[in-house]
């Protein structure tokens, strides 16, 4: 999981291709947004040019030609009950409606944002005071407050504009405050304060640029409403007063003629509809560009199973693979999992093979972005698609290839024969269900027994993971438990159906050391008691030496070294492994200058030819970067991906 996130950040970091697109370019890529932009620009243009266009006077009455239908000669869209030209009136009306909407938006956004940013930045009493008064405005149904204001000020376009602007202030204030609060607490504001910048300086040079996207997003959602609502007030006769006309008041007048001359009411409404659709389309597009969550493509629904390259979606009978190695419960062969993001392909897992032997504990070690978590998630098809896709390889469990297996097949195995324990137990448990229910759910899914029995089993599991007062704690919600307790619940969930394999993805990284020691001890004992196989993903060699029998080291999507934990830790072969073990200060050893690895790991969408570590390696030679380096066995059960080691040079 954490891995996938890193890949997303990696992609942002690489300001090269997809993310190098300017906001403008990204805006243009969305066709609907372009349509919206077109509509809005057209309306703006026509409104601006209205005085220059060869239009009849919109207020010139001609009773002889009243209520002409559209397409009448001389009056393209017909005339109204006073014989005034509809087209001309529509264009002039649009001009009024549009400018009223824009001015109201400007007033509301400036006043509201100011309230919001000040409340958010200063917090405390001032925040309370400002936001409570804003809440008072919100306590009125939206339109009603506008009506009350118009009632007091009297009908008229300016008063309607005013009323609409006031009732929209709370939206800006609340949205802006929300972001301002979180930004004001973030470290860069603290840093500015530490550096002695004045409050007003921080407000306007540090904070404002960072809340600007929210202001723009709020504008884009409210400007449509404001146009609708001012039109509404005019429709009720409380806005524009004759002879001045906006689209709303035209609609209101036309309403009386709805049966005899439907065009008089329907046309202005249609114009409003098209205008507001245009604004909303443009607004949606702007939001896609400005909202950071949408930007990184996170608002795409992940499928229930990772996509598989069509070539691998083999027919069912072919999936019975004969790699019936009795020695292994799980055999992974040449697995490749890629992320397709825009035009870039991130090779997160790039040709990984391994064997999991019954009862053993295999560690996968690597830094963020090395592909260790994606490897783990690929096994049960849990890598998010899009953007993930399994490109090639096989995952062989019980003589069956799981790559390309149907969702039903996988669902029968997931949580049953092969289970997961994830990193952060706060986010990986459903906050709205009690922990007992969440364990019971796994049991219900895979076992057919009575509710009573399931409950007993659930309590028993909680006891097995050493949760005190199991009966009471079963009724607790995740947020009511401590981090260590939550992770125990996660482990209980993984153990529920007596699995063969547990895949633990950094299960103790989010925990404190003393709690980590507890949980590692628990995992170790349970594993040995039950003889399960464990696939343990971690970044910490210390943890590896606690729990793993064998270990693979991953770097940039590839396994660079594999062997027994003892051998790899005590006499690492690959230069990366050596340096990785070396660069962590050790408790037991005397202090010395630690040798950091220079530079950064390569982005997996832009891998160098040859060895991915060569750039950072002290032993690298020209040949390292000229050829594909294969992983070779140095002795039985020990392999390394380095030509210089294979040749015995280092």
């Amino acid at each position: 999981m954490s891995e996938q996130l890193t890949i997303e950040t990696h992609s942002k970091k690489k300001a090269g291709k997809t993310y190098g697109l300017s906001s403008w370019q990204r805006l243009r890529r969305n066709h609907l947004t372009v349509v919206g932009l077109g509509i809005v620009s057209l309306f703006c243009l026509i409104s601006l040019l209205a005085p220059l266009l060869p239009l009849p006077d919109p207020d010139a009455t001609n009773l002889a030609q009243r209520l002409l239908p559209p397409l009448s000669p001389g009056h393209f869209l017909g005339t109204d009950q006073l014989g005034r030209d509809m087209l001309s009136r529509l264009i002039w009306g649009t001009r009024v409606s549009l400018s009223v909407g824009i001015i109201a938006t400007l007033i509301a956004s400036v006043v509201g944002s100011l309230f919001g940013i000040i409340a958010g930045y200063y917090g405390g009493r001032l925040d309370n005071l400002l936001m409570r008064s804003i809440d008072m405005l919100m306590a009125f149904p939206y339109m009603l407050l506008a009506l009350a204001i118009v009632a007091a000020l009297g009908p008229g376009l300016m008063n309607a504009l005013f009323a609409i602007a006031i009732v929209n202030i709370p939206f800006f204030a609340r949205n802006v405050r929300g972001v301002a609060v979180s930004q004001a607490r973030s470290d860069y504001i603290e840093a500015a304060r530490l550096n002695g910048q004045s409050d007003s300086n921080i407000l306007f040079t540090e904070l404002l640029p960072n809340v600007m996207p929210v202001i723009i997003i709020t504008i884009s959602t409210t400007v449509g409403w404001m146009i609708l609502e001012t039109a509404g007030l005019s429709f009720l006769g409380l806005g524009a007063q004759p002879p001045q006309a906006d689209l709303g008041s035209m609609l209101g007048e036309g309403r009386k003629m709805i049966i005899t001359a439907p065009h008089e009411a329907t046309l202005p409404g249609l114009v409003i509809l098209i205008l507001v659709i245009g604004i909303n389309l443009l607004g949606d597009g702007l939001r896609d560009v400005l909202d950071p969550r949408l930007k990184s493509g996170t608002l795409v629904r992940p499928k229930a199973r990772t996509a598989v390259d069509p070539a691998l979606e083999a027919k069912p009978e072919e999936k019975q693979i004969t790699a019936g190695n009795k020695e292994s419960v799980l055999r992974v062969n040449e697995l490749r999992t890629y992320f397709n993001m825009g035009n870039e392909i991130y090779k997160a897992v790039n040709n990984v093979s391994f064997n999991l032997i019954p009862g053993e504990s295999l560690g996968i070690v690597g830094e963020s972005g090395s592909g260790k978590s994606v490897t783990a998630l690929s096994l049960m098809g849990l890598v998010a698609t899009p953007p993930g896709i399994i490109k090639s390889g096989s995952i062989c469990y019980n003589g069956k290839n799981l790559v390309g297996a149907s969702l039903e097949t996988l669902q029968k195995l997931r949580g049953n024969r092969i289970t997961y324990v994830f990193q952060d137990p706060l986010t990986t448990l459903n906050p709205l269900l009690t922990v007992g229910d969440q364990i019971a759910e796994t049991l219900k899914r895979h076992q057919t027994c009575s509710g009573r029995k399931i409950k007993d089993r659930m309590i028993e599991l909680l006891k097995q993971v050493q949760i005190p007062n199991a009966e009471d704690r079963a009724k607790a919600y995740p947020h009511e438990l401590s981090g260590g307790m939550r992770q125990r619940v996660g482990i209980a969930m993984a153990l529920a159906n007596d699995p063969e394999i547990i895949i633990a993805d950094e299960p103790t990284t989010a925990l404190d050391v003393t709690i980590q020691a507890q949980v590692l001890g628990l995992i170790n004992n349970l594993r040995k008691e039950r003889g399960l196989s464990l696939l343990f993903i971690t970044h910490d060699f210390g943890v590896v030496s606690e729990v793993c029998d064998r270990v693979m080291v991953m770097y940039a999507g590839k396994v660079v070294e594999a062997g027994t934990a003892q051998a790899v830790i005590n006499s690492p072969l690959h230069p990366y492994t050596r340096r990785l073990i070396d660069c962590v200060p050790r408790l037991g050893k005397p202090d010395k200058v630690i040798h950091a690895i220079k530079g950064l790991a390569p982005a997996v969408n832009d891998l160098p030819e040859g060895c991915a570590f060569a750039d950072r390696c002290d032993y690298a030679r020209a040949e390292c970067q000229q050829q594909q380096i294969t992983i070779t066995e140095t002795e039985p059960g020990r392999s390394v991906r380095c030509i210089r080691v294979s040749k015995g040079e280092i």
Partner: protein, 324 residues
């Protein structure tokens, strides 16, 4: 001894009131920092370890005058900075800087990194003009290992390690005498951690800065510190020169903490004391010794009597436990 003390912290207390109900009545206090005293010598590194929620970050905020104290004193070169006026705090901040934990949130995403590094120079009116300032910035960037070409780049174009270098440059550009590092490497990958640690060590040698280094990672603290303090539930339970502390921890909590840290060593599996249970809530800490709920040597005295003071059991080795 006295004149060498760069920073002296005396019995510092920070309580956050918990308000409840309609009238925001104070119903209790979070005892975030509960009587902490120590001193740091010039040019040395004082390491503070503790698990999450032990109050180490609150202590950091108090030291940086980001929050008012509930009690106690913080003496910087003999001056009580906790009573300082705004203007004095502004001046003292030239000498005291902070490096944050999260290099992602500590840089303004809409400001180029060059401008972020330059900002302290501007507010403190150092350097006569823009050109001089730029020169200082480029020197600093060079010193922390950033490419000067990257002046105009924005934080999102950098990796975590590089961002942390930017933060270090920003903190160091005013040539502070005291730098507080609040978990500066916890968010980084191990291979990058080492780079940043080395950078901090080099800067210390060159500039004779005092570090106050907070971390939950015992390995890192041991590597960088001269003196290490162990904090538990708002109190320092043990304080000693690092080699003494790591070799012969006296407080039961320090013992458990040090033995819990996973070690890369398969030849001899160490015997470990695994603590049971969780840390109690700082809202309602145990009476007496704060560690009494999880301690294996617990006696009646520990729970009944008020907690013992931090006492010097041997030269420079302080422990807060009835056993000594």
């Amino acid at each position: 001894m006295e004149p060498d003390n760069h920073l002296v912290v005396k019995n510092v207390v920070k309580h956050y009131p918990i308000r409840k109900g309609l009238f925001s009545k104070i119903v209790g206090n979070v005892h975030a920092v509960d009587g902490v005293s120590f001193q740091i010598d010039r040019g040395k590194t004082f390491g503070l370890v503790g698990e999450s929620g032990c109050g180490k970050s609150t202590l950091a905020r108090l030291l940086m005058s980001l929050e008012p104290l509930s009690g106690g004193q913080i003496l910087y070169k003999g001056q009580d900075i906790s009573r300082f006026s705004k203007k004095h705090i502004f001046e003292i901040r030239r000498k005291m800087q902070l490096i944050f934990q999260d290099p992602y949130s500590s840089l303004n995403p809409r400001k180029s990194i060059g401008h972020s590094i330059e900002a302290p120079l501007v507010t403190h009116g150092i350097a006569a003009n823009r050109k001089e300032r730029r020169e200082l910035v480029t020197q600093m960037m060079d010193e922390v290992g950033l490419d000067v070409e990257q002046f105009k780049r924005y934080p999102h174009e950098f990796s975590g390690g590089q961002r942390q270098r930017v933060c270090i440059a920003r903190a160091m550009i005013l040539e502070p005498e005291f730098v507080l590092c609040d978990e500066p490497v916890s968010a980084l990958d191990v291979s990058i951690q080492a780079q940043v640690i080395n950078l901090l060590c080099n800067l210390q040698k060159k500039r004779n800065v005092t570090y106050f280094f907070i971390s939950h990672d015992l390995n890192v603290v041991k590597h960088i510190s001269d003196v290490v303090a162990v904090m538990y539930l708002g109190r320092i339970v043990e304080l000693a020169p690092k080699n003494v502390l790591y070799k012969r921890p006296l407080h039961p909590y320090s013992q458990a903490l040090i033995s819990s840290a996973p070690e890369v060593n398969l030849k001899q599996k160490k015997k470990r004391t695994v603590l049971t249970g969780d840390v109690p809530s700082p809202i309602d800490p145990p009476k007496g010794c704060h560690f009494c709920t999880r301690c294996r040597y617990v006696e009646k005295k520990c729970t009944n009597e008020p907690s013992p003071e931090l006492i010097e059991v041997e030269h420079n080795h302080f422990v807060r436990c009835w056993l000594y």
